[in-house]
Amino acid sequence: MTSTESRRASRRQVLKGAGALAAAGVIGAPAISKAQTGTIKIGVPTILSGRVAILGQTSVGGLKVVFDKFNAAGGINGRKIEMVVRDSKGAPQEAAKVTRDLINNDKCEIILDAEASSAAFAVQEVIREIGVLCLHSNSETSSLTADPKLHVPTAFRTARQGIHDAIGGGDYAAKIAKAKGLKKWATCSPDYAYGRSNTAEFMEYAKHFDGNIQVVEESWPKLFQPDYTEVVTKLLNAKADAMYSALWGGDLVAFIDQANLYGLFDKQASFMVNLGDYGVVDQVKQFPQGVYSGGRYNRTVPATKENEEWYQNYVKTQKHKPTNWSWENAVAAEFVVEALKKTNGDTNGKKMAEAIKGMTLKSQFGTKGTVTMRAEDNTLVDYIIGYGVSLSKEPYVSDFQASAWEPIFELEKQWKKKQGYIS
């Protein structure tokens, strides 16, 4: 018995040794081969599989359009940009591991975090520790940059922000409510942090601008819920004048298809912040007309030559339509390129962060033709926010009204005070 046990032990040692060697070989080899290429490597942790794979695909598309142009122009000091894209499947711990691997193993010098919110917070902690430049290009959760406890000097956000959308959307909704006498409201949003906080903030500001608004029904379908019959019935029974929904992606598509069967959109005014995005527009069987749709990405918003050219170029090179995530990532890529020009190709996290802090970029996605990386909280401002009315065919959104930024800044400051983020 003893001799058998001892033989087993030695076999285990051999197996462990072989495993360690295999791990070293598999993990170490790419680092050795890739470290010699001389390109500026940019790591992109994102979601490329599952129901929200479109997030990763269209984010990478937005980045590629900018970096391909940069590389075609010769790069900087002869160095071109190479993207290393990894699928985190949206799991925070995987996102943290993948980000560390991108930096330590693939020798990426910059991280473009194209993760959804929960994983973005995990990436933020890796950046806090390692200190490379990071741009969060998809996370809309306000606290990521608004909460000073979470602040990381080399991390920035180029995505739109929940509180900005809520203030702009609340103002727009209140104007429509006053004009049409929409007093009784129902809500229908996904049952998780984004859905709940987005809806609470939207309704808070709608009430702020129109004191007559009251919420009479709240519906919280589960994330990735396949059947919305019960939710639609609940909304119909509420007999509300208007409805707000923060549903998005495949959930929004399923909800619209099922709500259409009951004629929900004919019976009440509907406000949907995530409706007018090509990812949704192209998937819905019967795109509803007359729904108030939040501004995500649309080729006619703004209706400029630059935006149309950007759209055409994107579709031609990426073979799919851009989404909200595409422009957010394109802006992130533009910031990286401009910062590299300022630092003369030096990718040091501190130097790149100094270059980006407070930087204003010429951009067709800005209200005044520019977007700015606000220095006080490392977040993007002056991008286009607003609402329009949906059309059932191209361009899918009409009468788009962009929100003014001054009232947003003012109310955002009050919100930050209320949250205890500033004194």
Binding site: T2, T4, E5, S6, R7, R8, A9, R11, R12, Q13, L15, K16, G17, G19, A20, A22, A23, A24, V26, I27, G28, P30, A31, L48, S49, A53, G56, R86, D87, K89, A91, P92, Q93, A96, K97, V98, R100, D101, N104, N105, S117, S118, F121, A122, E125, V126, R128, E129, T141, S143, D147, K149, L150, Y192, A193, Y194, R196
Partner: protein
Amino acid sequence: MAGRWRDLGLAALGLLVLLLVPVVGAPPAIRDFIMFGMAYGLLAMSLNLLIGYTGLVSFGHAMFFAAGAYAFGLAMQSGKFSIPGAFVLAMAFTATMALIVGAICVRLNEIYFAFLTLAFQMLFYNIILGWVSFTGGDQGLMGGIPRPKFLGIDLADRTQLYIFCSVAFVVCIAILRQVVTSPFGYTLRMIRDNQERAAFLGINVTMVKLACFVISACIAGVGGILLTLFVSGAYPNFGFWTTSGEAIFMILLGGSNVFLGPLVGTVILRLLNDITVSYTSHTELVLGIVILVLVLGLRKGPLDLLADRWENRRQAKAQAVRDAADKDAQAGRDA
């Protein structure tokens, strides 16, 4: 007794090998891979104490992984605890939770036990999601996990963190080994093979199962703590059913009958994941194919297969020696 010292010696050797990794200047990516593997390895190894040694298939084991992670993370974020203090608190919380859940679940067998553990896991998961002000909801524990120095050890330093994780990991593996080779471990096997017989022999089956459940939960909790330290946060999907499923995958991949089988499974699964993720986003497809090959082709974990072949060969050799001896004896009698 000799076996115990040998096991402890092997554990010390394993620790030495792990500690050599930073000494020989291995790239940080390898250290990260090992740390990640150690956290999930403890989850799989502890689950195998239930599945492989006791015959209790738990679908909810990840709740203890998450319990350790959240209890430790919250204690550290409160700023009132040192790392050892938070560690002990997390262990106490996990053990208490396991005691309550286990007291209800271990009385049931097979599918009822499996589904009740799954139900408790989903309850715990939904508490994490719903109690946003305390747990951060689906955003998890944000803002990082503070790592104040203790006894001159600074876990903010990646090498020291690696050493800390290695020591905690080896200690847990050594504890598991002592458990499975002790009379208690053999009692677990007896319960797995014939629960009624064990009861007739005077064993309090429920209490033994409960003790096993709590020990295994605590080890999973340590895994959760290691992962929390690694990613500097705790997230709800630590306690989601897919994480329990992943641990079962690891056991399937490595084998449940050999002590280190689940650990080998963890390494295989993590390697498969890390390699495929570098080349494709169809990681699940690759994993699915591997599982199919194992289930349909090998019908057991590779380590189980190797162990069986080794045993068969040993028995064949012993039989050959016996046959030769019989032949000689026969020849002697004939002469």
